[in-house]
């Protein structure tokens, strides 16, 4: 029969083994990824790296349930958050993803690093917050642009577990709840290996909320002497300065986030102030409202000074929001042609992690709201928390519900288009706290006869939750392209329903370099969507005047810049135009010459009037 001491010793052995395994696997993953610098698109983001990453994840789950101090769980979670994003970011030679906003961000960073000025053609020229940090880092360290553009966003992932740690430590939340929240936090991150404005500002929303809630409800911690009132005052002054500085920074980091955050804070603060019962139940609602109003005022003033920005960008974004079909559809238009298994595959690849996180978080918010709805006293499990912490959790749940309402509204309005995913990112990033609360309440509800049995059931439940989230997170974080169901583009020609694996390849870079340097300056260059973005990524704005999307081609001869789907990168067009057979048919058409080929990408030349190159019919056919 094992004694208490032997159990503790065995626990320590397991803990240290898991920590060493995690450290070793993480080092192996990062070293291998940094060595690869892959120049082409392979089958999977984790191709050649799945073993160390899987080992690191397994070791993380074991360590997270055995480590007792929340501070150590926070450290582990921070390491995993950086690892999950840094591995794919380092694996490829160029920043990941030609779609989304990667190209626009890189364009702005390059112009800031090279000329010190924001390129007037860059989409984010008026919000150069993160970009100027990366540009400065490139100059200070003397490294190439590609390194920091790939590495800096994954490093920002560390902010999320640390933000939750601040929240848990300062409210303070029970240690079991804190451990669950912190252990879940790395899986709530957006895909930071792709440079995307929404992704890299999402951890700042958690930071803003944490600072506000901690400022109102948190304990100032122990200081050397001094009376409690002065300590609290110092603490609040510090938090206020930070909140204001952070709010100001968010205005310059990302336009949509700087619009959304004040609205959400303002709405949550207003709801919290509506009735005395709301004021009693929610902490910091006044602070939320005032900070939201301050940020909104700052945004309005900034945009008032940038009238051209408002008209050029905001109106365009609103138009895009109202016209879902004007952006590439994330959900393939022919999803309905897939069988049920295929549709489930697609759903898991797109939103497996989101679904499980939102389900857990929804349960957590319901559990938080239940005593308020029933108007009954606080139960024993809830009495573990201080009143201020409980009120802070209510406020947090309120913000989460507001964002859920926004996501549902946008999703209902434009099913399948790009807009809803942005709001989903914010929502999932906020989810670990309510999701951890749900896990913690379930473990607390499982009454066990002895302390050891309770500990074992706690660990089992948290480990099961972590494994489920980790597996689904990997499916969504690292989409396995061969698992994407195929659809029939033409008779007998199958192509993936959607390209989820999006690598900027050297094939495309060489193709665009050739087009920029060798083709006549007045020539019209017709490109697909991915190529259009990659031209900004690799060549800046030098090609922009000559590039046309297929549907915008002019009445003049055209060079068509195309590539084979696969090693050279993905296509984002409709299936009928991007299958291998369709491209081969193009190359075989009479009158269309192939004038450049590098094995993965090629240039076709059509000397007639290229009104719509994907549909033009040379004479005689």
């Amino acid at each position: 029969m094992s004694t208490r001491r032997s159990v503790a010793r065995r626990d320590a052995r397991v803990r240290w083994t898991a920590l060493c395994a995690f450290t070793g696997a993480a080092t192996w993953s990062l070293a291998a990824a940094a060595d690869m610098r892959r120049l082409y698109q392979d089958g999977w983001l984790l191709e050649g790296l799945w073993l160390p990453v899987a080992l690191a994840l397994a070791a993380y789950v074991v360590a997270a349930v055995h480590v007792r101090r929340p501070r150590h769980v926070a450290l582990l979670a921070t390491a995993l958050a950086v690892l999950l994003n840094a591995v794919p970011a380092l694996k490829y030679a160029y920043p990941y993803a030609p779609t989304s906003d990667t190209a626009d961000h890189v364009l702005l960073i390059r112009s800031l690093a090279v000329t010190g000025q924001a390129d007037s053609g860059a989409a984010y020229q008026h919000t150069p917050g993160l970009h100027l940090l990366i540009a400065a880092l490139c100059s200070w360290s003397g490294t190439l642009l590609w390194l920091w553009t790939r590495l800096f966003p994954p490093l920002l992932g560390a902010l999320l577990p640390l933000g939750f740690y601040l929240l848990c430590a300062r409210l303070p939340l029970p240690a079991g709840l804190a451990r669950a929240v912190l252990a879940l936090s790395p899986f709530a991150l957006p895909l930071l290996y792709a440079l995307n404005g929404t992704s890299f500002t999402a951890p700042l929303l958690v930071a803003l909320l944490a600072l506000l809630l901690v400022r109102e409800s948190g304990t100032p911690g122990s200081v050397e002497g001094g009376d409690a009132g002065r300590r609290r005052c110092t603490w609040q002054v510090g938090q206020t300065v930070l909140v204001l500085a952070l709010g100001g920074a968010i205005v310059f980091w990302h336009p949509i986030s700087s619009l959304l955050y004040p609205m959400v804070l303002l709405a949550a603060g207003t709801i919290g102030q509506l009735r005395p019962a709301c004021r009693r139940a929610c902490a910091a609602s006044g602070a939320l409202a005032s900070v939201g109003a301050s940020m909104a005022a700052a945004v309005l003033v900034f945009w008032f000074c940038r009238a051209d920005y408002v008209w050029a960008r905001l109106i365009k974004n609103l138009r895009l929001l109202l016209e879902p079909r004007s952006t590439p559809a994330l959900v393939p238009s022919r999803l309905g042609e897939l069988d049920l298994v295929g549709q489930v595959h697609m759903a898991l690849l797109f939103h497996g992690r989101d679904a499980v996180m939102l389900t857990l978080a929804g349960c957590g918010v319901l559990l938080l709201a239940w005593p308020l709805v029933r108007r009954r006293g606080i139960k024993r499990t809830e009495a573990y928390m201080y009143g201020s912490a409980r009120r802070a959790l209510h406020t947090y749940g309120l913000v989460w519900l507001l964002l859920l309402a926004v996501v549902c509204g946008v999703f209902a309005y434009q099913f399948g288009a790009q807009g809803y995913q942005r709001f989903l990112i914010y929502l999932v990033t906020l989810s670990p706290l309510p999701a951890g609360y749900a896990l913690w309440r379930v473990t607390a509800a499982l009454h066990q006869p002895s302390a050891r049995a309770r500990l074992r059931s706690d660990r089992t439940l948290v480990a099961a939750g972590l494994i489920a989230v980790a597996v689904l997170s990997c499916a969504q974080f690292y989409p396995y392209q061969p698992a994407v169901p195929a659809i029939e583009a033409r008779a007998g020609d199958a192509t993936p329903a959607v390209w989820l694996h999006l690598v900027n390849s050297e094939y495309q870079r060489q193709l665009l370099r050739y087009a920029a340097e060798e083709l006549p300056a007045e020539a019209q260059l017709v490109v697909d969507y991915a190529g259009h973005r990659q031209a900004r990524l690799f060549s800046g704005t030098t090609l922009q005047d000559r590039l046309r999307r297929a549907e915008q081609a002019r009445l003049s001869p055209a060079f068509l810049l195309l590539h084979w789907p696969g090693a050279a990168g993905p296509y984002m067009e409709q299936a009928e135009f991007r299958s291998t057979a369709a491209l081969q048919a193009w190359r075989d058409r009479r009158g269309v010459s192939t004038i450049y080929d590098n094995g993965g990408a090629f240039i076709l030349y059509y000397p007639g009037n290229a009104v719509d190159p994907f549909r033009l019919e040379p004479p005689g056919e």
């Binding site: 920590l19 501070r71 880092l137 640390l162 080929d597 094995g599 007639g608």
Partner: protein, 318 residues
């Protein structure tokens, strides 16, 4: 020390210096806003990073708005100046705080009965000259301590009264990170020693018709006869290579066959070589395309292919 290793060390040092420059103003600000022992290491790292990002963003935007553009070294100077100002502010406030704390401690001691004021003189007589109040019984002390302990809250790096953990315990705690660091270093060395580093891959060649000659070549194809088809081979690999180029066209009964070849063309890594295929075509042809294939010198599978159609303006809508 060889130069490659030295370059790598310098690059790493510059990376480290850049990271320090990025984080310095925020950390300094956090020390000013939140004095020692009010935050643990993780909280300070977090708030320091947030402060740094915010401060540098605001500085950078101000520099951009100023009109002369973003000078990274001016930004670095701003960051360092800000850090210095924060450190100075923190030092001053710490000095002021310690004076205030001293008087507060004296007052607290008087209240507790461990010191007395000599009325009218402002003198302070601390223990052991003043008899201490008898401490509570041990059981009551334990019960009180249990009641006052933060309820299932996160442990702090300091004791409840603000004093730091003992040196020996801190020293024991330092073995953990050292052990993990050693594990990371051993893993890295083992990986470096054993791994066959995979090739980066990507294109190895660029095969093209020079655009300056494109229209002329297509017109020549239209006219037929003996002509030269120019081509360019760009070696995109990191090693020297040799290639073979063949021209194919319909020869008999519409069947394609080789009509010309350049057997060997050697191209150094990163270089471009031009060449020309001498072909004989039937005159006035407008329905026959010429295919150009590029092979490695000793292989049968082509790396890339081109196709040239005769240019006849009457056949294309203009």
């Amino acid at each position: 020390m060889n130069s490659a290793l030295l370059d790598r060390v310098v690059a790493l040092a510059r990376l480290f210096a850049a990271a320090c420059l990025l984080l310095a103003p925020g950390l300094a600000l956090s020390y000013w806003l939140f004095p020692r022992r009010t935050l643990d290491l993780l909280e300070r790292a977090y708030l320091g990073a947030l402060s740094s990002f915010s401060l540098l963003t605001l500085f950078g935007v101000a520099l951009l708005e100023e009109g002369s553009g973003l000078d990274p070294w001016l930004l670095a100077s701003c960051a360092l100046a800000c850090a210095a100002a924060c450190v100075a502010g923190a030092t001053v406030s710490r000095l002021r705080r310690s004076r205030a704390q001293e008087s507060q401690a004296k007052r607290r001691d008087v209240v507790r009965g461990t010191a007395i004021w000599v009325r009218g003189t402002g003198s302070y007589i601390p223990a052991p000259f003043v008899p201490r109040i008898r401490p509570a019984p041990a059981r009551r002390r334990r019960r009180r301590a249990r009641r006052m302990r933060p309820h299932r809250s996160i442990e702090q790096s300091v004791r409840a009264d603000g004093s730091p953990l003992s040196t020996s315990r801190a020293a024991r705690g330092a073995w953990g990170p050292l052990f993990l660091l050693a594990t990371a270093v051993v893993t890295l060395l083992a990986y470096r020693a054993s791994a066959a580093h995979p090739a980066a891959g990507g294109p190895v060649v660029g095969f093209s018709v020079p655009s300056d000659w494109l229209v002329d070549t297509q017109r020549s194809l239209r006219q037929g006869g003996h002509l030269a088809i120019p081509f360019e081979v760009e070696n995109l690999a990191s090693y020297d290579a040799a290639y073979r180029v063949e021209a194919w066209a319909p020869v008999q009964d519409g069947e394609a066959g080789s009509i010309a070849a350049v057997e060997r063309i050697a191209v150094a890594a990163g270089e471009t070589r031009c060449g020309a295929l001498q072909v004989d075509l039937p005159p006035r042809t407008k329905d026959v395309a010429v295919d150009l294939y590029l092979y490695p010198a000793d292989a049968v599978v082509p790396l890339a292919s081109l196709r040239l159609w005769p240019l006849d303006t009457s056949t294309y809508p203009q």
